[in-house]
C-alpha cells in the first residue's frame, strides 16, 4: 500500500526536483499511514540510490535493465506501472519534467488513474483526496478532487522544501517484463548543453529579453548567471529571433518555471511572459523604461541600463 515515487536520474544522480518529490511522497505516506517507496530507473550506484532514504523513502526499487539506460517515456511507464502493482500503490508522486511528462500520461492510461499536474501543495485528506494545482499557466489555482482508485500527483518545483535526515533506504533490484512495444521510438541523436544548470531544475535564473539588443551581448548575462550558479533563460522574441535556443524560452508558450529567484533583464513583462515566471519566489526586474509593466509584478526593481547594471551586479555577487 506504499506511496510510490518515481525518482528521475540525471547522469546517475537523483535530480533535485525528484528529491523534492520523494520528500513530498514521504509526507503523503505519513498522512495516510503508509510508507514511501522510490522507483528509480537507469544506471546509478548503490550509495546514490539509497540516498533516497535521506528524503524519507524507506525502500528503493531499482530497474537497471540495460535497455532502460536511455530515457524512454513508454518503457518507463511500463516499469512504474509494474512497481505500483507490486507495491499496491494507490498514490504515485513525481516531479514534472520532460521525461516525467511523457511517462506520466502513459502511466495514467495504464492504471486508469486520476491525475493532477502542476500540484503545488500537500493533499487535503479531510474530505476525500483534494490537491491544489496551478492552472491557466500560473494565473490561477484549482482545487482538484481525485476520485479514481489510483492517483498520480505531478508536482511543480518548489512545492515543498525537503528536509534531509541521516538515513539510507535499502535497494531492491526490480526487473519487470518489458515488451518490444516499449521500444518502438528510436532515438537517433541528442543535443544537450552539458555542464550547465538545467533551467527547469534551477533555483536561481537570470533571464534577458530584447533589451540586450543582440545575441553577441549575452556574455554579461552568462557572467552574472555563472557568478550566482544560476541558469539562463530568455523571452519569446529572443528565442523567435534565434538569439537563444528555444529550450531557454520561458513564458506562456515556453517553459513555466518556479525558481527561488528570477532576474529579468531588459524584458518589459507582457502578460504572456509573466505567466511563465510568476510562480517564482522573488522577482527582480531591471529595465531602462520606468513604465515597463514588469515592475508591477516585481519584488525588487532597478530602472537603469542593463549594460551598466548587470556587470555591476556580477561584481557585487563575486564580492559576497
Amino acid at each position: 500500500m506504499s506511496v510510490l515515487i518515481f525518482a528521475e536520474l540525471d547522469e546517475g544522480k537523483i535530480k533535485k526536483s525528484s528529491q523534492e518529490a520523494i520528500f513530498y511522497g514521504a509526507k503523503v505516506a505519513e498522512m495516510t499511514g503508509t510508507s514511501a517507496t522510490a522507483i528509480i530507473v537507469g544506471a546509478a550506484d548503490d550509495s546514490e540510490l539509497s540516498s533516497a532514504g535521506r528524503f524519507g523513502a524507506t525502500k528503493v526499487l531499482h530497474a537497471a535493465d540495460a535497455k532502460l539506460t536511455e530515457p524512454n517515456g513508454m518503457a518507463y511507464a511500463t516499469v512504474v506501472a509494474a512497481a505500483a502493482q507490486q507495491e499496491g500503490s494507490k498514490v504515485i508522486v513525481l516531479a514534472k519534467s520532460s521525461l516525467a511528462d511523457a511517462m506520466t500520461a502513459r502511466l495514467a492510461g495504464k492504471l486508469k488513474a486520476g491525475l493532477a499536474a502542476n500540484v503545488i501543495e500537500l493533499p487535503d485528506l479531510s474530505n476525500g483526496f483534494r490537491v491544489k494545482s496551478s492552472i491557466y499557466t500560473g494565473k490561477a489555482f484549482a482545487y482538484n478532487d481525485l476520485k479514481a482508485d489510483v492517483k498520480i500527483l505531478a508536482i511543480k518545483k518548489n512545492t515543498i522544501t525537503p528536509e534531509e535526515k541521516d538515513a539510507s533506504a535499502p535497494v531492491e533490484a526490480f526487473t519487470p517484463a518489458l515488451s518490444e512495444g516499449d521500444f518502438v521510438i528510436s532515438v537517433k541523436s541528442t543535443e544537450k548543453s552539458s555542464g550547465d544548470i538545467l533551467l527547469p531544475e534551477a533555483d536561481l535564473v537570470v533571464s534577458a529579453g530584447r533589451g540586450l539588443k543582440g545575441p553577441e551581448n549575452w556574455g554579461i548575462v552568462e557572467d552574472l548567471a555563472k557568478a550566482l550558479h544560476a541558469a539562463t533563460a530568455c523571452s519569446k522574441p529572443v528565442s523567435d529571433l534565434d538569439w537563444r535556443p528555444h529550450s531557454e524560452h520561458v513564458g506562456q508558450t515556453g517553459l513555466k518555471i518556479s525558481p527561488n529567484l528570477y532576474i529579468a533583464c531588459g524584458i518589459s513583462g507582457a502578460i504572456q511572459h509573466l505567466a511563465g515566471v510568476n510562480s517564482s519566489k522573488v522577482i527582480v526586474v531591471i529595465n531602462k523604461d520606468p513604465e515597463a509593466p514588469f515592475f508591477k509584478s516585481a519584488d525588487y526593481g532597478i530602472v537603469g541600463d542593463v549594460f551598466d547594471v548587470i556587470p555591476r551586479l556580477t561584481k557585487a555577487v563575486k564580492a559576497l
Binding site: A108, K110, A116, I135, N144, V184, S186, L313, A316
Partner: protein, 245 residues
C-alpha cells in the same frame, strides 16, 4: 493519409482570469476564446502535410457548443471536416477517452494536438490517447517530417533536443517551431461554413478528477525600487533580506 487534429477552445493568452459563482466557474464575460496556441501549431503542420501529400484533416474538439467558432476557424484554415464531442473538457483521462473512441472508428495515420492546453496545462492527453490506442506518443514535437510510413521527429528535452524516428500511426503533442501559424483567407472562411461539423455525445467513464473550486494568486507586495547607481545594494538585499543567494 488521414490526420486527426485535436483542438481546444481556450481564453486568449492576454486574458485576465477571474472566477464567478463562488469561485466555481471561469467568468467568461468579456473573454475572447481562441484555438489553443499549441493546437494551432499542430493544425498548421497538418495543413502543410496536406498541401504536400494530399492528406485529409479532421478536426476534433471535446467541448461545449460555445467552442464552435474555434472549430469553424480550423475548418477555414484547411481542415476538411470536424467532430465536436459535446462535453466539458475538464479531466485528461475523460478527454483522452473521447478522442480514442473517435480514433478507433477511423484509422488515422497521425493524431496531432498541442503539447498542452493553456487552461489546465496538464500536457497529458496525447500520452493517454497513445496508451489507449496502443500506439506511440511523443511530445513536445518541434519538427515533423514524413518519409513513407516513418516519422522523423525533433522533440524538445531539458536543455536541448533529441531526434527520433517512429512508424505511423502516432500521437504527437506539438509546439513551435513545427510550422508557422496560418491565418484563414476569405475563401477558407466562406467554404468553412458548409464543411461538415458532426456533434456526438460523450462515451465512457465518469470523470476521474473534478475541480471543487478555483482561486487567484495573492498579489505580490509592493516593488522595492533601487536606484541604478546603487545597483550593488540589490545583491545585499537578496542576500540578507530575501535570503535567497
Amino acid at each position: 493519409m488521414k490526420i486527426l487534429v485535436c483542438v481546444t477552445s481556450v481564453p486568449d493568452t492576454t486574458t485576465k482570469i477571474a472566477f464567478t459563482d463562488n469561485n466555481t466557474k471561469l467568468n467568461k464575460a468579456g473573454v475572447t476564446f481562441i484555438t489553443g496556441p499549441y493546437d494551432d501549431y499542430a493544425l498548421a503542420r497538418a495543413v502543410e502535410l496536406k498541401e504536400k501529400t494530399g492528406a485529409s484533416i479532421t478536426v476534433l474538439n471535446v467541448g461545449e457548443a460555445d467552442s464552435e467558432p474555434v472549430i469553424r476557424k480550423c475548418l477555414a484554415i484547411g481542415a476538411d471536416d470536424a467532430i465536436r464531442v459535446n462535453a466539458e473538457p475538464t479531466d485528461a483521462y475523460f478527454v483522452a477517452e473521447q478522442i480514442a473512441a473517435i480514433a478507433q472508428k477511423t484509422n488515422y495515420d497521425l493524431i496531432l494536438m498541442g503539447r498542452e492546453s493553456i487552461d489546465y496545462n496538464g500536457g497529458q492527453v496525447h500520452g493517454i490517447v497513445g496508451e489507449m490506442l496502443d500506439i506511440p506518443s511523443i511530445s513536445p514535437v518541434m519538427q515533423l517530417d514524413l518519409d513513407g510510413d516513418t516519422a522523423k521527429i525533433t522533440r524538445e528535452i531539458e536543455g536541448g533536443k533529441e531526434s527520433l524516428e517512429a512508424k505511423l500511426p502516432l500521437v504527437l503533442g506539438c509546439q513551435e517551431p513545427i510550422a508557422e501559424w496560418k491565418i484563414p483567407n476569405m475563401r477558407g472562411i466562406m467554404t468553412a461554413r458548409t464543411k461538415p461539423l458532426t456533434v456526438v455525445e460523450p462515451t465512457g467513464t465518469d470523470k476521474l478528477t473534478t475541480v471543487a473550486s478555483y482561486e487567484l494568486p495573492a498579489p505580490r507586495g509592493a516593488v522595492k525600487m533601487i536606484p541604478a547607481d546603487q545597483a550593488e545594494t540589490l545583491i545585499q538585499l537578496l542576500h540578507t533580506e530575501a535570503k535567497i543567494i
